[in-house]
């Protein structure tokens, strides 16, 4: 809109305020940068990986880092850097996709329960409570054993666990917001429920959701790595960081680099995500923006 004739002063929205605060947090920026780097590398892997994925060199066997193989090779002579890059594609994909699944289901479920309230809310949250009480770790192990290690199933299974907390958070947010007077004002203006949800509730509920999403991705990645380590997650010929770590653990006495580098990749990514998540939580803390 052109407010050209009145010399309108620039306003600072809460998002801009939060971004400004985030930029001051060096750890969070570091996390964002590292994450960006890893994601870019994962997307571009087929083009930038130094060796072909399955290029074996059995005569070479496992060698420590060298000029030709920056991170060394595994017992089949495969370049470790390449392995880590391809493994990263899978690990990051599982992290983001499963979290996205959880996000969509959880946010919708929580928003509906929170907004409608009453019996609908009671029933929906009772379902969440019961599902929450089930020991999921055990079930996922079971599912993976029983139905084979299907990547899609893995996404769904992990997503199915994480959506519960997301739903609880969203419901809590929506319930709290619904009592706020600006929502009552919106109702008294005559706005439709859809518009109220879209324009008034969702933007104000996003803060904790964003934070929680950023912190869910690492816990999903940990879950995938855990399953792969036990032999219940990703299977060869695909690879993931969890799988690489489990191989590395087997031969760690003779070839420690096979354990250390994949471990470093996973841990660094988790650090990055956690720093970013913490930084977002501090930046988006609405209490600080009030006078």
């Amino acid at each position: 809109m052109a407010h050209t004739d009145i010399n309108a002063e620039k306003g600072t929205s809460l998002w801009e305020d939060a971004w400004r605060r985030l930029k001051k947090n060096r750890l969070a920026l570091f996390g964002l940068g590292v994450l960006g780097l890893f994601v870019a590398s994962a997307l571009l892997t087929p083009w930038i990986a130094p060796y072909a994925y399955d290029a074996q060199n059995l005569d070479l066997g496992a060698t420590p880092p060298s000029a030709q193989h920056w991170l060394g090779t595994d017992i089949f002579g495969r370049d470790l850097l390449t392995q880590i890059m391809y493994g990263g594609r899978i690990s990051l994909a599982v992290g983001f996709v499963a979290t996205a699944v959880a996000l969509v289901i959880g946010v919708t479920w929580g928003a509906v329960a929170g907004y409608v309230g009453g019996r609908v809310d009671a029933v929906m949250m009772r379902i969440v409570d019961i599902l929450y009480a089930l020991p999921f770790m055990i079930f996922i192990v079971l599912l993976m054993v029983v139905f084979g290690r299907n990547l899609l199933l893995l996404f769904l299974a992990i997503g199915a666990v994480e959506w519960l907390t997301m739903a609880r958070i969203m419901r809590g947010q929506v319930q709290a917001l619904r009592k706020q007077e600006f929502v009552e004002a919106a109702i008294s203006l005559g706005l439709s429920p859809m518009t109220i949800i879209r324009r008034h509730l969702v933007p104000n509920a996003l803060g904790p959701i964003i934070v929680y999403t950023t912190l869910t991705i690492p816990s999903v990645m940990l879950l995938e790595a855990f399953l792969s380590f036990l032999g219940l997650g990703i299977q060869p010929p695909k690879t993931s960081w969890g799988l690489l770590i489990s191989y590395g653990a087997e031969t760690m006495e003779e070839y420690p680099w096979l354990l250390i580098f994949p471990g470093l990749a996973l841990t660094t990514t988790l650090f990055a995500l956690n720093f970013l998540g913490d930084g977002l939580r501090d930046a988006l803390d609405v209490r600080r923006s009030a006078d």
Binding site: M1, H3, I6, N7, A8, E9, K10, G11, T12, S13, L14, W15, D17, Q180, E181, F182, E184, A185, A186, I187, S188, L189, G190, L191, R199, H200, P203, N204, V286, S289, A290, D291
Partner: protein
């Protein structure tokens, strides 16, 4: 004799927002046996000054830059933390504003009461409990044996504040600092607590510092008044002097802001615009039914301002929200201009909403923090097709003019404004659709006293300009008397009494009305 002598006290704050001087070289004295009130609005530094005396300010971000505070021959500001701890709770005690959050919810009243005694005077637990019970009786709690073992959440606000007072006095301190102790309480309870503090002060002959934002509250009990504005003491003197011949313009402004007149209704030919008949709104909370509004009937005439007065739990807010169809009602009829609002279909209801709007109490919570002034004011105009996308900006600017907001602020967000400015935005939003009827739910209760007066005047002016009919909900009788033509008094969901402002104030009929009127703070001191 001087109990406390403060000279040139300066306290600075260093936060992420910059460096501010909260208390700017102030000097004052507190005499033994007197109640000294420190009055100021938000940002005046009144609380900061007193907290710094006891070292209760977190330093950083605060820092005491200069000054002396002589108490009992020692300078409090130079004492070490362990020396200060000897004084806190023993020689100088404090009570705070919100007794719910100021008492530990996880400990019994008894455990908290005896702490200062056990710690400072090394009294045994049994003796301390006995002493605590004596004090509970002294502050007006009739059944101390039961109270001792209960938790804070089991009591009302007034009782909790009595407990806080008992806890502060248990070690017989020489000086009591009370930081807004009645601000969070209902008006009748406030009157009781004020009387209690005054009585205890006389009985024990101690010095009291009473911090408040409201001159009226301290009018009847303060001996000496100190007025602060933006970190400076602008005036101080004995109460009579302050109230009869205040010298500083700020003090005069504070005095002028206390509504003390009664509106004389000039309404002729009253025609009802809003009719409420046998309204009942009950809430089901698990096992009990709360009768928030219990068979209430009244009318509001065109052009009238009706004041709806009551304490917490009276149902006044529920009535306002019921009329505006923000709450489902249990039974009864609500008519706007003859049309029954309870039976409308959603399409007609949406159109009808244009004619009735609400102004809420908390100016921060009533604005969407993610929408700019433009967004907030344009929303109703665009929704009801009053303006098109091309013409709406001019309409928004005109609204801003009407409510006294500078046009240059149009792109700013709520958190960039003060409380008074935010309330102006909220008023602008309510007026956007040119409604006929407005419900104002405690619209000035959350604002500073001087800003209250401005907003009330604004509402009266706009009321005339737009030809508004208003239902003004409030717990503050002085405000209601000043602005309303007629008043309805509510108690526990039922109407107790109604009448014009004049008749209600000069000749109240019901006992509850009389006790409400008797509780208006400062009525003895301030001429009506």
């Amino acid at each position: 004799m001087n109990l406390l002598e403060v000279q040139d006290l300066q306290v600075d704050f260093n936060t992420r927002n910059g460096h501010t001087i909260a208390v700017n070289k102030i000097s004052f004295t507190v005499k033994k046996g007197e109640i000294t009130a420190i009055i100021g609005e938000s940002g005046s530094g009144k609380s900061v000054a007193c907290y710094s005396l006891l070292g209760l300010l977190p330093q950083p971000p605060a820092s005491i830059e200069s000054g002396t505070a002589l108490f009992d021959g020692r300078d409090l500001l130079t004492l070490s933390e362990s020396e200060l701890r000897q004084i806190r709770g023993r020689d100088i005690a404090m009570i705070f504003q919100d007794p719910m959050t100021c008492l530990n919810p996880y400990m019994t009243i008894g455990d908290q009461l005896i702490e200062p005694l056990v710690f400072h005077k090394k009294v045994s637990k049994a003796d301390a409990l006995a002493r605590a019970k004596e004090l509970l009786v002294e502050v007006g709690i009739r059944d101390p044996d039961a109270t001792i073992n209960n938790f804070p959440h089991e009591f009302s606000g007034g009782m909790r504040q009595r407990v806080m007072i008992a806890m502060a006095l248990i070690n017989e301190p020489k000086l009591l600092i009370a930081d807004e102790p009645t601000t969070a309480l209902d008006v009748t309870i406030q009157a009781q607590i004020l009387k209690l503090v005054a009585d205890l002060q006389k009985k024990r002959d101690i010095g009291v510092i009473f911090i408040s934002h409201d001159l009226a509250v301290v009018a009847d009990i303060a001996d000496h008044i100190i007025v602060m504005e933006k970190g400076l003491v602008v005036e101080q003197g004995d109460s009579t002097g302050i109230f009869t011949e205040a010298k500083h313009p700020y003090t005069q402004k504070l005095l002028a802001a206390i509504p003390s007149d009664t509106k004389v209704s000039a309404l002729h030919d009253p025609k009802p615009l809003v009719q409420v008949e046998n309204l009942k709104t009950y809430f089901n909370t698990g096992s009990t039914v709360v009768k928030a509004v219990d068979d209430v009937s009244f009318e509001i005439n065109r052009g009238e301002i009706v004041g709806l007065v009551g304490e917490s739990g009276s149902g006044k807010s529920t009535i306002g929200r019921s009329i505006l169809r923000l709450l489902p009602i249990t039974s009864g009829q609500i008519r706007l201009d003859g049309q029954d609002l309870t039976t409308l279909d959603s399409g007609t209801l949406k159109r009808t909403r244009r004619r009735m709007q609400m102004i809420f109490q908390d100016p921060y919570a009533s604005l969407n923090p993610r929408m700019s002034v433009y967004d907030t004011l344009a929303e109703p105009l665009l929704l009801h097709n009053i303006e098109s996308r091309r013409t709406v900006e001019q309409a928004v600017l005109k609204l801003m003019d009407d409510v006294g907001l500078a046009r240059a602020f149009i792109r700013k967000y709520p958190h960039e404004f003060s409380g008074g400015q935010r309330q102006r935005i909220a008023i602008g939003r309510a007026l956007a659709t040119k409604p006929e009827f407005i419900v104002a739910d405690e619209p000035v209760s959350a604002l500073d006293v001087t800003i209250q007066a401005q907003i009330l005047d604004l509402m009266l002016d706009l009321g005339k300009q737009y030809g508004l009919t208003m239902l003004f909900v409030s717990h503050d009788l002085a405000v209601v008397r000043h602005i309303a033509d007629r008043i309805i008094v509510l108690y526990h969901g039922k109407i107790v009494e109604t009448g014009t402002s004049e008749s209600l104030f000069n000749a109240p009929q019901e006992a509850y009305t009389k006790s409400l009127l008797a509780s208006i703070p400062g009525r003895n001191r301030l001429a009506s």
